[in-house]
């Protein structure tokens, strides 16, 4: 499959904006609908229209042969996507694992706000980041407690 040469003049192609949108989406894709609704309430919910109503489909997940080799198709996952347009013109797009249409629609609104660099967005999403980091830390700490400390009982010489 051949991809076009980099598309010229993409309005959203500035690296700073892309980095911000990716950071926001890494949170929204793991958030709950309630968390995103709360974040939007904090930052101020803008007027928007759907330009693509939330749609659930599949993404084929790939692994790598031996962990770091050539890709292979491992199996699919459900993914939901959505696109909205704010009254101010920005088009927000969101993708997330799962089938939660309402959540992904809110994530698309937040993606549009990320393009505006809306003030207070990071703060509004901070509770999500805190929860996710806390869960991951706890899970890793619990596994760390199952790490084996070996001690030698007997070393046979004869």
């Amino acid at each position: 499959m051949t991809h076009a040469s980099p598309s010229p003049g993409r309005a959203d192609a500035e690296p700073v904006v892309v980095a911000r949108r990716r950071a926001v989406m890494a949170l929204t894709s793991r958030a709950t609908e309630a968390e995103l609704a709360a974040a939007l309430d904090r930052v101020g919910r803008p007027a928007f229209d759907d330009i693509r109503a939330p749609q659930t489909g599949l993404v084929m997940l790939r692994g790598r042969t031996g962990g770091d080799g050539a890709p292979f198709n491992l199996g699919e996952a459900t993914v939901t996507r959505s696109a909205v347009r704010l009254a101010s013109g920005e088009v927000g797009i969101a993708y997330a694992l799962g089938r939660d249409a309402a959540k992904v629609r809110l994530a698309a609104v937040l993606d549009a706000l990320a393009q505006q660099d809306a003030p207070g967005l990071d703060e509004a999403l901070a509770p999500v980041a805190t929860r996710l980091a806390g869960q991951q830390d706890l899970a890793e700490a619990r596994s760390a407690a199952t790490r084996v400390d070996f001690f030698t009982l007997v070393r046979g010489e004869d």
């Binding site: 892309v18 793991r30 491992l74 199996g75 694992l97 991951q136 700490a141 760390a144």
Partner: protein, 368 residues
């Protein structure tokens, strides 16, 4: 061959109603919810996701409920569900070296960076029925400890010394075989074999993996590493023009270090077998790795002598949805076929009886 017949609609409707009734069981017992299945029968959910080839815990849990716990039936339901959805594309390959590790063990090195992390495992349980579970008391909170160091893949330790073969690489834009898009043809490339095994039946893979250990295609395996944990899923969305983070999934990975090879050109080095499975299933990941290596027999110039080395045999029979479809189709009406066979057997029997009568007559004649 089966023959389509009509009739029995009322019987079928009633059978479905009876099935729904039996599914519910004793109504005085609280009904199980998919959430309970997802949380408390998590390994059944993992198996249904792996062999259903669809990562969606809630769909898998609901399928298990609908199938009354018949996991192959649940897998069938999940496979049917996925056909109703459009595909948006393929993810970036999962980076298992960046896994947030819940469990990680190696049978080749005792002390290794990241350590041996047992995680949630049955391995050291005594396999005694725990009657306290029947009561439903809350378990004690798990202990915590300071997180350890990073856990690189064990095989990189061997790789650094050139002691193990390198994994095959591919050009970034090289097509990746997909047996859900193109029918499987033989010989199958390794990407297709791994896809087939990843969705293959755990029992079938286990038995074949076991057979290689018992001498039917030995590979002399060591568990280089098994790891289970969560990995991030990246997806390049064409409409966005950049790669986004879709969320996190859990996978089990097994790297087998297998039979070493060497030649006039190449110094002796170990070979590899690889397993990667949705969710927590090291039995499946290990079996997959054993069979991946066994299926590479011809690649290493060895003779294909055992079932686990025969890719057409393995790949054609690994899928439990296909297998159950063909085995269970024998239940469908074969009335006409059977009538034909019945007629043939009756004719053969009458010929046999006539021959017997002739023989009896001849014997009688000879005796007189």
């Amino acid at each position: 061959m089966y023959v389509a017949v009509k009739g029995g609609e009322a019987a079928i409707d009633n059978a479905h109603a009876l099935l729904a009734h039996e599914r519910r069981g004793d109504p005085s017992i609280p009904e199980i919810t998919p959430d309970q299945i997802r949380e408390q029968l998590a390994l059944a959910v993992d198996r249904v996701m792996a062999e259903g080839s669809l990562h969606d815990r809630d769909i898998a849990a609901l399928a298990i409920k609908q199938a009354r716990g018949d996991l192959i039936e649940a897998i069938f339901l999940v496979r049917a569900f996925r056909t109703t959805l459009p595909r948006f594309g393929a993810s970036e390959p999962l980076d298992t070296s960046a896994m947030s590790v819940r469990r990680r063990i190696s049978a080749t090195y005792k002390d290794l960076p990241g350590g041996q992390v047992l995680g949630p495992t049955f391995d050291y349980t005594h396999r005694l029925i725990d009657f306290t579970l029947a009561g439903g008391a809350a378990p004690p909170a798990p202990a915590t400890a300071t997180q350890g160091e990073a856990a690189p893949h064990v095989t990189t330790l061997l790789d650094d010394e050139g002691l193990i073969e390198r994994n095959p690489s591919a050009a970034p834009d090289a097509p990746v075989g997909d047996l859900t898009r193109e029918p499987l043809a033989f010989p199958a490339s390794r990407d297709l074999r791994l896809q087939n095994l990843a969705r293959g039946d755990e029992g079938f893979l286990l038995a074949l993996g076991y057979s290689t250990q018992r001498g039917y295609g030995r590979t002399h395996p060591f568990v280089g590493e098994i790891r289970f944990g969560t990995v991030q899923v990246g997806f390049h969305a064409e409409d966005l023009g950049f790669c986004v983070d879709l969320g996190t999934i859990s996978v089990t990975e097994c790297e087998m270090v297998t039979q070493f090879k060497g030649s006039a050109e190449a110094a002796p080095h170990f070979t590899r077998g690889y397993g990667l499975v949705f969710g927590q299933s090291e039995r499946k990941a290990m079996s997959m790795a054993l069979i991946d290596r066994a299926l590479r027999t011809a690649e290493f110039g060895e003779d294909v002598v055992a079932p686990a080395q025969d890719e057409e045999f393995v790949l054609s029979h690994s899928d439990n949805v296909q297998a159950t479809g063909f085995v269970e189709h024998l239940k469908l009406p074969h009335y006409v076929d059977f009538q034909a066979e019945l007629g043939l057997v009756r004719q053969l029997r009458s010929e046999f009886a006539a021959r017997q009568a002739d023989l009896d007559a001849m014997r009688k004649e000879a005796a007189e």
